[in-house]
């Protein structure tokens, strides 16, 4: 009997290995490009300017704090809505809903996850903002609040599905033990199941935050794009500007190589680092919880 295919395999194996390492290559490449165009900002723009509260590039004011603040307040507002609603929905789907309802709910949530954010932004302009303006008697509906509500819708599917996975992964034996001690289903959920799924739910929330911070188009369309530093919660009802929207809105109008261009890349670096921190923390949490679960169950 002949042996087979070893020549072919000789070529395939290194190709597969190279493909595996490509992920590292891409991250490095992205970081490199952001740095190469963005780090110049630190030389071109004095730090006092860069971290001031005035963003007005036409007159050389490059204060990014209002943009950071804008991203912060919109994300905060989104999480205030998305976390309770999302976690409760996850609990409902995982612990309470009957099989048939679950079969409808899960695909629906997944469908929301696939929604292009531009469509949400579009509905935000046409429906949500006017509604908010009338409801709350504001001068304009294009506010941080509108952005928060849309972001909540965008972050929800992430929070729901990952939390639901975490709740599902809690061993049956935990629930059975609790019920055997006389607890109601409700008490079991809050005192046993949810705490056991704690790290998974935290991971879900962090990934939801990451998704919200990174969203561009929807917020650009409804937050009004006024780079004003939000110093209190009342700014929810006023226009703000996020970092992402700034890049998207102004990139088309800058001259390549200009200071403004470099600053936009600098903002890109900031966004990159923020998402890096959030995602690595979230996955470290996930790994730690898995290791703990393995120790407990072994």
């Amino acid at each position: 009997m002949k042996t087979s295919n070893t020549k072919y395999e000789f070529i395939i194996t290194p190709i597969i290995k190279a493909m595996g390492f490509s992920a590292i290559l891409f991250v490095v490449l992205i970081f490199y490009f952001l740095i190469s165009e963005g780090i110049v900002t630190l030389k071109e723009v004095p730090l006092k300017n860069l971290f001031s509260t005035r963003w007005y590039p036409i007159e050389d004011y490059y204060g990014i704090l209002p943009l950071l603040g804008g991203s912060l307040i919109v994300t905060l507002g989104a999480m205030l809505v998305a976390v309770p609603v999302g976690v409760c929905t996850a609990i409902y789907i995982s612990e309470i809903s009957p099989g048939r309802t679950r079969e409808i709910l899960k695909p629906l949530v997944e469908m929301l996850g696939g929604f292009p954010s531009v469509v949400l932004g579009f509905l935000g302009i046409l429906i949500l903002s006017p509604y908010l303006r009338i409801l709350m008697n504001l001068s304009t509906g294009l506010t941080a609040l509108a952005g928060s509500l849309l972001l909540a819708g965008i972050a929800l599917p992430t929070i729901v599905s990952i939390s639901e996975d975490a709740l599902d992964a809690v061993p049956r034996s935990y629930r059975d033990a609790s019920l055997a001690l006389g607890a109601t289903d409700w008490q079991t959920i809050w005192y046993v199941t949810l705490p056991a799924a704690r790290s998974g739910v935290l991971t879900a929330i962090m990934l939801g935050i990451g998704r919200a911070v990174g969203e561009t188009i929807a917020v650009m369309m409804v937050t009004g794009n006024a780079p004003v530093l939000p110093t209190g919660l009342r700014y929810l009802f006023m226009p703000v500007r996020t970092m992402t929207a700034t890049i998207a809105a102004e990139m088309g109008e800058v001259a390549e190589g200009s200071t403004h261009y470099h600053v936009l890349f600098f903002i890109g670096i900031v966004l990159f680092l923020i998402s890096l921190i959030i995602n690595v923390t979230a996955s470290a949490l996930a790994i730690r919880s898995r290791k703990r679960a393995e120790r407990i169950l072994s």
Binding site: I16, V85, Y92
Partner: protein, 287 residues
């Protein structure tokens, strides 16, 4: 425990359950309402001319064919770059990689890539593909950018699909004299195909709906002709919707809804396709 205590607890439970149920439907009902509303508002605009014609009168009339075609081209382009690389990397992680620092570095990179904001991908695409590699604003630059953005999604789902194939199959195959690659090609991959396909479709669906990455790398406001080469810029559905709802004064509402409807239809069809593949594969599984 006396009886009154347990009936109080049951009362709490009923209230609590009710609250959770409300929350869950708060999540889901808006989705359904939104879909129905867009359908109602957008359907009147849908016609053969709308789907196959070019925009006219400064976008305020006519059709959206170039946007539809552009999105299709970009999706195909994304697939060309992301699918082989993504599946290859997944095969590496699932079948070849050991548990060492290098593998961990790869995994952290993938997590990172998955979390990078889409507009940052746009910046990167602008810097590398449009400017440095001189592709200009083109389908090529846009596809490469969307491709890199889609790779982490494909790797995660493909790796999961590969890992779900029982290890015992691999052991049996090796014991019959197969090499690692023969085992992958003849047993592991065929069994993982539907899971991989589901992941690919979901990844491409996301790419098709994204606006920020193509803003500076591929999108054009208006083109009188369909793109003929990968170096051409193109219109695209998400960008078109953005433009007509924010940059064109006096834009007829139903064309806006019509465009939104077409985009949603495109994305949802892929979603349903992926779901169907996944449930059919689950039913036909032989292990």
């Amino acid at each position: 425990m006396n009886k009154s205590n347990s009936s109080t607890r049951l009362a709490y439970q009923k209230i609590g359950y009710g609250f959770l149920t409300v929350m869950a439907f708060l999540t889901v009902i808006p989705i359904v309402l939104v879909l129905l509303y867009i359908l109602k508002q957008g359907l009147p605009a849908i016609s053969w001319e709308f789907l196959t014609g070019f925009p006219s009168d400064g976008m305020k009339a006519g059709g959206i064919l170039p946007a539809i075609v552009g999105t299709i081209y970009l999706t195909i382009g994304t697939a060309i770059f992301a699918v082989p690389l993504g599946i290859g990397a997944a095969i590496y992680l699932s079948e070849y990689a050991g548990d060492n620092k290098l593998t961990r570095a790869i995994r952290i990179s993938i997590i990172n890539l998955a979390g990078i904001p889409s507009v940052v991908y746009g910046l990167f695409g602008l810097g590398l593909f449009v400017i440095f590699m001189k592709f200009g604003t083109s389908i090529l630059a846009g596809s490469l950018t969307l491709g890199i953005m889609t790779i982490p999604v494909i790797i995660s789902t493909a790796e999961e699909a590969l890992r779900s194939v029982p290890q015992s199959f691999r052991i049996v195959s090796i014991s019959l004299g197969a090499t690692r690659w023969q085992t992958i090609r003849r047993i592991v991959l065929p069994q993982a195909v539907s899971g991989i396909l589901t992941g690919v479709i979901l990844g491409l669906e996301r790419a098709a709906g994204e606006t920020a990455p193509i803003l500076f790398t591929a999108a054009a406001f208006f083109l009188p002709r369909l793109p003929t080469s990968p170096f051409d810029a193109t219109m695209a559905l998400p960008y078109h919707l953005f433009v007509i709802s924010t940059q064109v004064p006096g834009m007829p509402i139903e064309i806006q809804y019509g465009t939104a409807l077409v985009l949603i239809f495109f994305v949802l069809t892929m979603n349903i396709f992926a779901t169907v593949i996944r449930s059919r594969a689950r039913a036909r599984r032989q292990w």
